[in-house]
Amino acid sequence: MKGFFQYLAPFAPDYSGAAAVLYEMGGLAVLCDPGGCSGNVCGYDEPRFYGGSGALLSAALRDLDAILGKDGALQRKVLGAAAQGGYAFTALIGTPVSSVIGMDLRALCRSIERETGRTAFEVNTDGIGLYDQGQRKAYLQLIRRLGAVGTDAQDAAIGVLGATPLDTLGLLPPEQVRAHYGPSAFLYGDPCTVERLGNLAGVRENRVVSPSGLAAAREMEAQFGIRYQTDFPRCAAFDRAAERLSGRKGARILILHQQMAANALREQLEAEGHADVTVGTWFLLDKDCAREGDLSFADEDAFIDAVQAFDAVVADPLYARALERFAGAFVLLEHFAVSGDLYI
C-alpha cells in the first residue's frame, strides 16, 4: 500500500540534510518549524550538535503565527538572532508547517538580506523528502548565492561534496575523508572564512561522495568549468563487509546505502571476484552513476519483494526488520541517515 510502512521507520528528512550541510559553515540556519522538526535534527540527525557551536535555531512557530500569517514576527526574531551572533549569512530551512501555510521564504530572505546587509537564502525543504534531497537543495543554494569564482582555480583545493555525517558517519569520520583528499581539501559544510564564503566555487575540481552533491557539482562545471568525479574512499566498514562475503563468490548481492558509497563497495567486491552485485537505495539514484538493474525504492512492499531475489544483502541493521522472510545473508553496513546513532 502506497506510503504505508509497518517495518521500516522514517529516515532522516530533507531539512536534516539541509541543516547538515549548513551547520558548521558560520551562518545562521533557521528551521521554520514549531520545534519538533528542529528536535529531530538536534536530537537525532546532527551528531555535531551536542557541544557544537553551529547556529541552528527553531523559528518556534505557533498556531496563531501560522493562521494569521505573522511572517513579520518571524523576521523580527531572525533579525534579533542575526544581530546577536554576527553571522556570515542566514538560511531559512523549510518544514511541513512552512510548506502547508505557504510561507514565502524567498521573500522573507530578501527582506532579511536588506536589513542585515548579508546574504540570506531559503532552502525549500518540506519534511516530505529525504535527507539527500535537502542536502542537494542546500548545496545548490550555497553555490548560487555564495559561489562566485574569484581565485585561480588551478591553485585551489579539491572540493568535496556530499560528505555530511548523514552520508558518511559509521563508514568514514570526517578526518578520514580529509586525509583521503589531502589536508587542503575543502569539504562543503566546513567552517568557512569570509573569503571562502564569498567564493565557494573556488576549487580546483570536485569529488562527489554522495548523490546529493551531484547537482551542485554539475552546476559548477557548467558555470565555472570546474570538473568533478564521483567517488567514495575505501574504508574499514567496506573491508568488513567484503570479508563477510568472501566465501560467497557466486552470490547475488544487493548493497543498500547512498549511491556513491554503494557504488564504491560494489567496485571493491567486483575487484575481489564477485560478479553479481546490485546497488539499491531509498535515496537519490542518479541514472548516470547507476548501472542497468540498480534499484530505487520508495515502497516497503516492493522493497521486501525485490530483496528476495538476492542471496546476500549489505545494509543498515534497521532494514533487517523488514526482511523477516529473507533467507539469505545479512551483512551490516551502517547508514546514519537510516538508523542514527542506534548502532554506532
Partner: protein
C-alpha cells in the same frame, strides 16, 4: 562572549499584567539544546498496553520514533502512513487511512489503535474524530485520534494534553470500586518509597491505578473503576475532565511539590477529596529533618534548577532557598498558571534570583553563574562542570518522599557524577 538574556524574579513580577503563558525572555528563536526535552507523544501513547499507533504524517514527523522506538521497544507497535506533496494538496491520504489501520491491526493484533496526526492535519483542519471512526470500522478495534502538533504547544490543546486524553478514551464504564483511586499525568509508576499508598489506606484506598503500571489492556480497563482521579501533572487535567464527564469519576488536582509545608497542603487537599483527613505528621517531620540535615551537610552548595524537571522549577528553587541552600539561577521559558503565586513568594526570599530561558539563542555557550549541581538535564548541558542530576518524568516520586528522593539523588550524583551525555543517552527523551 555574548551574555545570556536574563531577568529576575523581581523584574518578572514588575511586568504588568503578568500572565500565565508569558515568555520570560520575550519572543525569540529557539535553541533546542540537548536536555530541553520531554517524554514525547509517541512514548506517552505507547504506555497503553496492547495498543498500536498509526502515525499519519510526512516522513519527518516519525523520525524521532525511529530512534526512541528502537531504544524503548515500542517500534513493534507503531506504523506509519507517510504523505507526499500530492497527498497534502489533494487530501488523498485520508482515503487510505482505513486500509492502513486494518493492516496495522492485522500485524500487531492490538486491543486499541491510536491514530496520530501532526501539524499538517492540525493546520488543514482535518476532522480527526471522523477519520478515527472510519478507521475503526475498517480495523475492528477501537480507534481514537490525537495530535502530535508542536505548533499547538502553547495552546490548551497542547500535544501532551491531547495524547493523555486519547489514551484514556478507551476506558469503558465500570462499577466503581470505593477502594481505588487513579493517578493521572505521571509517565512512570509511583516510586516504591512513596508514602502515598500508606496514607491512602487511612481513607480506605487499597489500590492506586496508574496507566504506566498497567501490563495489559484488561488492567487498563480496571482504571475505570476508580472513585477518584488524582491529577499529579496539569497536562492531565483535560483528560480528568473527560473522564468525569464520560464515566462520572471526579478528580482533584494535587501538585507534585517538594516543600514540606506545601506538600502538607496538597495532602490535606487530597484527604478532603476522599472525606478523610490524612495523618502524615511523621512523614512530614522526616522530610523536614532530611532537608535540614542535607542543608547542614552541604552548606553553600549551589544548585541551579532547570526546566526539564519533574516538578515546578520555581517551587523546587523555593524549597532549596528556604533550606538555606544557594540557587544560582532557574531556567524557565513560559510561565505557567502555577508559577505566579510561587514567584510572589520567591520575591520575598530572593528577588534577584536570575531567570533564564533555556531555549534562548544567547544560551549557547553563554557564561552562566557557576553552580555545583545542575538539576535537570537542560541545566546540566549548560553547566558542564556541575554534577548533573536527571530529575525528569522518567521516574515518579511523590509526596514527602519526593523531597527525600530528590535530596538522595543530588547526593548520589555528587558522589558518583555521571557524564551529562551519558545521562542523555539513558533517558530516551524526545527533544
Amino acid at each position: 562572549m555574548t551574555q545570556p538574556a536574563q531577568t529576575t524574579v523581581q523584574e518578572l513580577l514588575a511586568r504588568e499584567p503578568l500572565r500565565a503563558g508569558a515568555r520570560t525572555q520575550g519572543c525569540h528563536l529557539h535553541f533546542n539544546g540537548p536536555g530541553a526535552a520531554g517524554f514525547g507523544v509517541k512514548r506517552a501513547a505507547m504506555l497503553l498496553p496492547e495498543s498500536a499507533m498509526l502515525l499519519v504524517a510526512p516522513s519527518c514527523c516519525g523520525r524521532h520514533g525511529t530512534i526512541t522506538g528502537n531504544k524503548t521497544g515500542f517500534d513493534e507497535r507503531i506504523f506509519y502512513l507517510q504523505m507526499d506533496e500530492r497527498d497534502v494538496v489533494t487530501g488523498a491520504y485520508l482515503r487510505r487511512i482505513p486500509e492502513a489501520a486494518a493492516l496495522a491491526a492485522k500485524r500487531a493484533h492490538p486491543k486499541a489503535l491510536i491514530l496520530c496526526m501532526t501539524c499538517v492535519d492540525a493546520l488543514l483542519g482535518t476532522d480527526i474524530d471522523r477519520v478515527a471512526r472510519e478507521a475503526e470500522r475498517a480495523c475492528g478495534v477501537p480507534v481514537t485520534g490525537c495530535f502530535m502538533d508542536p505548533i499547538a504547544r502553547e495552546s490548551k490543546n497542547a500535544p501532551m494534553v491531547s495524547v493523555q486524553q486519547a489514551v484514556m478514551r478507551f476506558l469503558l464504564p465500570a462499577k466503581t470500586d470505593p477502594g481505588q483511586v487513579n493517578l493521572l499525568g505521571n509517565f512512570a509508576p509511583l516510586e516504591a518509597e512513596s508514602e502515598l499508598p500508606r496514607l491512602l489506606k487511612q481513607a480506605g484506598i487499597s489500590r492506586i491505578g496508574q496507566l504506566s503500571a498497567c501490563r495489559s489492556f484488561a488492567e487498563y480497563q480496571a482504571l475505570a473503576r476508580a472513585r477518584l482521579n488524582v491529577v499529579v501533572h496539569p497536562q492531565a487535567a483535560a483528560s480528568a475532565k473527560d473522564l468525569e464527564r464520560r464515566l462520572g469519576i471526579p478528580f482533584v488536582e494535587i501538585s507534585h511539590t517538594h516543600g514540606v509545608e506545601r506538600t502538607a497542603e496538597q495532602m490535606d487537599a487530597l484527604g478532603r477529596s476522599l472525606g478523610k483527613a490524612l495523618d502524615f505528621a511523621a512523614d512530614a517531620a522526616r522530610a523536614k529533618e532530611a532537608l535540614s540535615a542535607f542543608a547542614a551537610r552541604h552548606a553553600g552548595l549551589r544548585i541551579a534548577v532547570g526546566e526539564a524537571v519533574n516538578g515546578n522549577p520555581f517551587e523546587i528553587a523555593e524549597t532549596l532557598l528556604e533550606a538555606g541552600l544557594e540557587v544560582p539561577f532557574v531556567l524557565r521559558n513560559l510561565l505557567s498558571r502555577q508559577d505566579l503565586p510561587i514567584l510572589r513568594r520567591l520575591a520575598a526570599l530572593r528577588p534577584d534570583l536570575p531567570v533564564y530561558s533555556g531555549v534562548h539563542p544567547s544560551m549557547q555557550g553563554a557564561p552562566l553563574p557557576p553552580a555545583d549541581v545542575a538539576l535537570g538535564l537542560d541545566a546540566g548541558y549548560f553547566l558542564p562542570k556541575a554534577s548533573s542530576v536527571c530529575w525528569n518524568m522518567e521516574r515518579q516520586p511523590f509526596g514527602f518522599s519526593g523531597l527525600t528522593a530528590l535530596l538522595s539523588e543530588i547526593e548520589a550524583c555528587i558522589a558518583h557524577p555521571l557524564p551529562h551525555r551519558e545521562q542523555m543517552h539513558g533517558s530516551y527523551l524526545v527533544v
